[in-house]
Structures are given as structure tokens and as C-alpha cells.
Amino acid sequence: MTTLTALRPTRSVSTAALYGLGTVSVLAALGLVRGAGSSSTALTVVVTGLAYLLLAFALVLAVEGRRAAVDRTFTNLAWGSFLLALVPLVSVIALVVKNGSRRFDANFLTHSLRGIGPRDSNGGAYHAILGTLEQVGLASLIAIPLGLLAAIYVVEHGRGWLVSAVRFVTDVMTGVPSIVAGLFVFTFWVLALGRGFSGFAASLALAILMLPTVVRTTEVVLGLVPDSLREASLALGVSRWKMVLRVVLPTAASGITTGIVLAIARVTGETAPLLLTALNFDSINSNPFKGQQAGLPSFVFAQAGQPQQAAVDRAWAGALTLLLLVLLLNLVARLIARRTRLKD
């Protein structure tokens, strides 16, 4: 009976045999690819993977039977997908570090692009870093309080038409493409209100993109705060708003902070809204409320679109700066999450 043999296999493929199979696959792939007149490493790796998949299936089929062979194949596919997903991550980070370090120096971090042509080898992103910090900072000042309060409303009220409306809108806003957020701020702030392009207009667009993340994570974390804590404080005669501020929020603080930092990291890399709201600017503009202002993502986009190598080098250095900033924020979020007191 098949079931019994599967439960108590008399013969099984040993780990050593699978290692041997791996070696055979590599050799077969090398032979095949070289034989076809190519020396591409990527192709060899792909062929090795396919060869291993097929050989492992055949071997396990012969020794343990069909069900075990199918099982082995899906195990291999699951491992394969994970390794495949790592390829772009490793490639992007390696290339950004390698190409970015060419121009990632003191000059780059302390100078703007004022008077620098695409051919010039100097010039930096100081103005863009400054712009990004101001734009993201202002966006956080708008989105964090608004998002926190809206989430508190949803969780602490729990019913009513506005609660379901806020829930629905949060879902819809999560899916708003960043370019649409930028277009909206352009039509609203620049065209309808006539305030002109500025760093603050970019902040408004970034705030729209941050809001749903802040509301959603706050909502989830506040939901994890046990009701017994609320009951205890109310029983002591504390008013509801004090209960929320002194008991519920502190209990949920680290979870909420993690969500907020991740939201900040996400909008720091947003390029599309900047192009429609702050445009781009080669000189330092430290006033986010007046005039065009560069941002680090729009700096990278503009430099990457130039054919000159000097400009492309600047784009890579900008990408490295941006990546470091975003990864740092993610690291901070993870460290805060470690200290989370609430577990679901």
C-alpha cells in the first residue's frame, strides 16, 4: 500500500546523495552552457538549478516513489524562489555601494549643483539632502498627529458610519499611486490655491502617502492593548481622554513608533510626487515654503537621466545616500520593534 510505504520508507535518499547530485548538476550545466558556446554565469546558474530539480525528482522517484519525488520537488522550488528573490537585492546593494562610493565624499555631501554642468566631475547633493529632510520632516508633522488621532477615533469608538468610512478610506488611500498624490497636490495647492511649487507642497503629497500606513499600524497596535487596562483605568475614575493618553498610548508606544518609522522610510524614497510639487532645483533653498526645492530622489532621477558619466556617477552617489538613509530608518524601526511589549 502506498500510504504505508510513505509512512515507513524502506529506502531513502541520503543527504550525501543529494550533495552528490548538486555536484553533478553543476558539472552538467557547465558542460551544456560551454558546449552551446556561452560563458554566461547567470545562464550556468539557471541551468544548474533546472538540472538539480530534474535529477532530484528522478532520483527520489526511483528510490522513494512518486509522492516523495513531488514533495522533494516542491521543497526545492520553495528554496529556489527564496534564493531567486535574494538575487536582485544583493545585486542592487552591491552595485549601489560599488558605483556610489566613487563620488560619495565630503565634497558630495557639502556642495550643491549650483553652476555645475552635467560634464563637471564635482558638485553634490547637499541641497537635495536638505530638501528631503525638510520635506519628510514636514510631512511627518502633518501625517503623524492626524493619523494617530484618526486611528484612536476608530479604535476607541468602534462603531458608527464615520468609523467604517475611515476604515474604507484608509484601504483606498493605501492604493493611491504616488504620482496621483502628486497630481492632486498640484491641482489643489498649486493651481486652485495658487501657492506655487514648494518643498511644502511636496510634504503635503508625502503626508497623503504616509497617512494610511500610520492609521493602519496604529489601529492594529491599539487593538492589541487589552481591554482590562482600559477597564482598570476607567474604574479608577480617570476620564476617557486621560485613559487614552496615559494608559493606552504608552502601552502601544513602541509598536506605533515602529509603524511610523517604516512609513517615514517609505516616503523618503518617493520620487514621483516631488517632480509635480517641488519640481527640482540645482541650488540650495533652505525655505521649504517658498520656491522650487530639490529632494534626494528627484536629484537621483534628474542625474540618472543624463548621458554624461559624471552625472551618472552623481546619481549613484545620491542613490547610495538615499539607500543608507532608508536602511537606517528600517534598522531603527526593527530595533524599536524588538522592545515591543505587546505581542499578538
Binding site: L7, S40, R67, D71, F74, T75, A78, W79, S81, F82, A85, L89, S91, V92, L95, V96, L146, L149, A150, Y153, V154, V155, E156, H157, G160, L162, V166, T170, G175, V176, P177, S178, I179, V180, L183, F184, T187, F188, L211, D227, R230, V238, S239, R240, T268, G269, E270, T271, A272, L275, P297, V300, F301, A304, A315, W316, L322, L323, N330, R334
Partner: protein
């Protein structure tokens, strides 16, 4: 607006009522309610302002907005349409989904079912890092690195599978291809689909899987019969959300795709454009009229992504209702 916002009698949390009902409470909950209203108004305003600004441009359009291929809103007789842009958006996103979905599901299954327990969190975090990389960085990587390597793949695909319409001859030019844009999009949506699916798979009670294993199922049989069936609605919704992200992605496509004003179905070469990338590329060079046309296309994108996301939400809500009976 006379909402129950400031009314402390309907202020209780999920199950609580009572507590003191002083002025502080009224002010505090009025403030939270106002934030909720601000959120709702924002989404209404997005739709309204886009419509208001798109209408004049659409009125000036001398041809049919839906079927015209050309995009010349600044001409003396403005002629522009979304035929090329919508088809380009849909083609790149669909190919991206075909490439990303199997791998993303494989990653989610690997992290939740195959990876050693202690490493699961760490491995999930590594895939999340993929989502943290800004789109402009992917775009830069795409033109400066991936394009070069994909060209030989494209030419190989053409010579091996050229009979297949999508892999048709592109005149020997394989750079900045539709496939490159799709591949970059696929890499960008992969971590989103993987992370959302992972959450869904973790919701399945481990006892289901253990029961299947105890009945003599192999590891894969347990996953196929016990873990995946209750997860499908959630996974479908994760895929829809990924699709929504792919449709709206701007900068990476704007950097890597070689554009043209023709609808192209030959994905090994350049051609076509997407709504979002077109807006990013043209915005700074256009004046009032052209920007109006871009806003009209942005409105179309907003409607498409809205529909896709609403559908994703609907799937989750309906399956939750079915589970409750």
C-alpha cells in the same frame, strides 16, 4: 456637522461604556473625529480636484480621448488619447505579475512552511528589505546594469522562441525593452505580495497542517490540502494589491522603458509607455494645457487602481463573511 463625534454617550471603545463624561472627553473625541473626517475629505478631494482640472483639457481635445494613440496636447489642435498609455500600463503590469506571483508565493511558502522556525522572522525581514529600496534606485540599477544583461537574454529568447508573438522580431534592438520594465516592476512588487501572503499563511492554524501530516501526507501534500485552501482569498487579495502597485509605479518605468507612441506587443524591444511614467516625463516641459491632459490621464490611473484595490478588499470581506457563515 452633527455627528456622534463629540457625544460621549456613544464614545465607548469596543465593549466599554461609562467613565466620566467631562469637557476634556468631548474636546478630545471631537479632535479625533475631526481627523477622521479630514481623512475622508482628502480622498473625496483627490477625485474632485482631478476631475475639475481634467475637464477643460478633455473639452479641448479634438479627438476621442479613449481611442487616440497620439499624445499631443500642446499642438494647435490638441489631439491626445490614452490608448497607448493604458495598453502599455496593462501590458507591463501583467507581465510583471506573471513573473512575480510564482516567486512571491514560493517565498511566502518557504518562509512560513519550510524555513527553520528560528530563522523565519529574519528571512522574512530580508525579503522586506527588497521593498525598502526606493523605486528610483531600482530604475538606476535597471538602466545601468540590468539592461545590458537583459539584452543578450532578449536576443536569445527571440532566436529560440521568435515564433511566439510576444517574442517577435524587434529589428535587432533589444535595449530598454518592455520586458526590462516588466522585470523591474516584478522585482518591486514581489516583496509586497510575499509579505502580504506570508501574513495570510501565518493565519492558518498549525493544527490543520499537523492533522494532515499525522494522516500520512507528505510536507507538500499537507500544504496543498490543508494550508493553501483557506488562504486563497487572502492570497488573491495580496496579488491584487501588488497589481495595483505595479499599475501605479512611476519612476522605475520612466527611467528604464524606451518609449514610443505606438502600441507594442513585442516585449523584447522598446515601445509604448505607461500612464504614470508619461506624467513624470512630460510634466516639467508642458504648460497649462498639456498639464491638464496629464491630469486627465492621472484620473484614469486613479480610477483603475481604485477599482483594483476595491476588488481586493471585496474579496477579503466576502471570504470573511463566508467563514462566519
Amino acid at each position: 456637522m452633527t455627528t456622534p463625534v463629540a457625544d460621549p454617550t456613544v464614545a465607548p471603545s469596543s465593549a466599554l461604556s461609562g467613565g466620566s463624561t467631562g469637557r476634556g472627553d468631548r474636546v478630545f473625541f471631537a479632535l479625533t473625529g475631526a481627523s477622521g473626517i479630514a481623512l475622508v475629505l482628502t480622498i473625496v478631494a483627490i477625485g474632485a480636484f482631478l476631475v475639475v482640472q481634467a475637464v477643460p483639457a478633455l473639452r479641448d481635445d479634438t479627438t476621442s480621448f479613449l481611442t487616440t494613440k497620439a499624445f499631443l496636447p500642446e499642438a494647435d489642435r490638441p489631439t491626445f488619447g490614452i490608448a497607448v498609455l493604458v495598453s502599455g500600463t496593462v501590458i507591463t503590469s501583467l507581465i510583471a505579475m506573471v513573473l512575480a506571483v510564482p516567486v512571491a508565493l514560493g517565498v511566502a511558502i518557504f518562509v512560513t512552511q519550510y524555513a527553520p522556525r528560528r530563522l523565519a522572522g529574519l528571512l522574512g525581514g530580508i525579503v522586506d528589505l527588497l521593498a525598502a529600496v526606493p523605486s528610483v534606485v531600482y530604475g538606476l540599477w535597471g538602466i545601468a546594469y540590468l539592461d545590458r544583461h537583459l539584452q543578450s537574454v532578449n536576443s536569445g529568447l527571440n532566436s529560440a522562441l521568435g515564433w511566439f508573438p510576444l517574442f517577435g522580431d524587434t529589428g535587432g534592438r533589444y535595449g530598454r525593452s518592455v520586458l526590462l520594465a516588466s522585470l523591474v516592476l516584478a522585482i518591486m512588487v514581489l516583496p509586497i505580495i510575499a509579505a502580504l501572503s506570508r501574513e495570510v499563511l501565518l493565519q492558518v492554524s498549525p493544527s490543520l497542517r499537523e492533522a494532515a501530516l499525522a494522516l500520512g501526507a507528505t510536507r507538500w501534500e499537507a500544504i496543498r490540502t490543508a494550508v493553501l485552501p483557506p488562504s486563497w482569498p487572502g492570497i488573491t487579495s495580496a496579488i491584487m494589491l501588488g497589481l495595483g502597485r505595479a499599475l501605479g509605479e512611476t519612476i522605475a518605468v520612466a527611467l528604464v522603458l524606451g518609449t514610443s507612441s505606438q502600441i507594442t506587443t513585442k516585449i523584447l524591444g522598446s515601445g509604448g509607455n505607461t500612464i504614470a511614467a508619461n506624467i513624470a516625463q512630460k510634466f516639467s516641459e508642458y504648460a497649462q494645457g498639456g498639464r491638464g491632459a496629464l491630469i486627465a490621464t492621472g484620473l484614469v490611473l486613479f480610477v483603475i487602481t481604485f477599482a483594483v484595490n476595491a476588488l481586493a478588499r471585496l474579496i477579503v470581506v466576502r471570504s470573511a463573511r463566508r467563514r462566519l457563515g
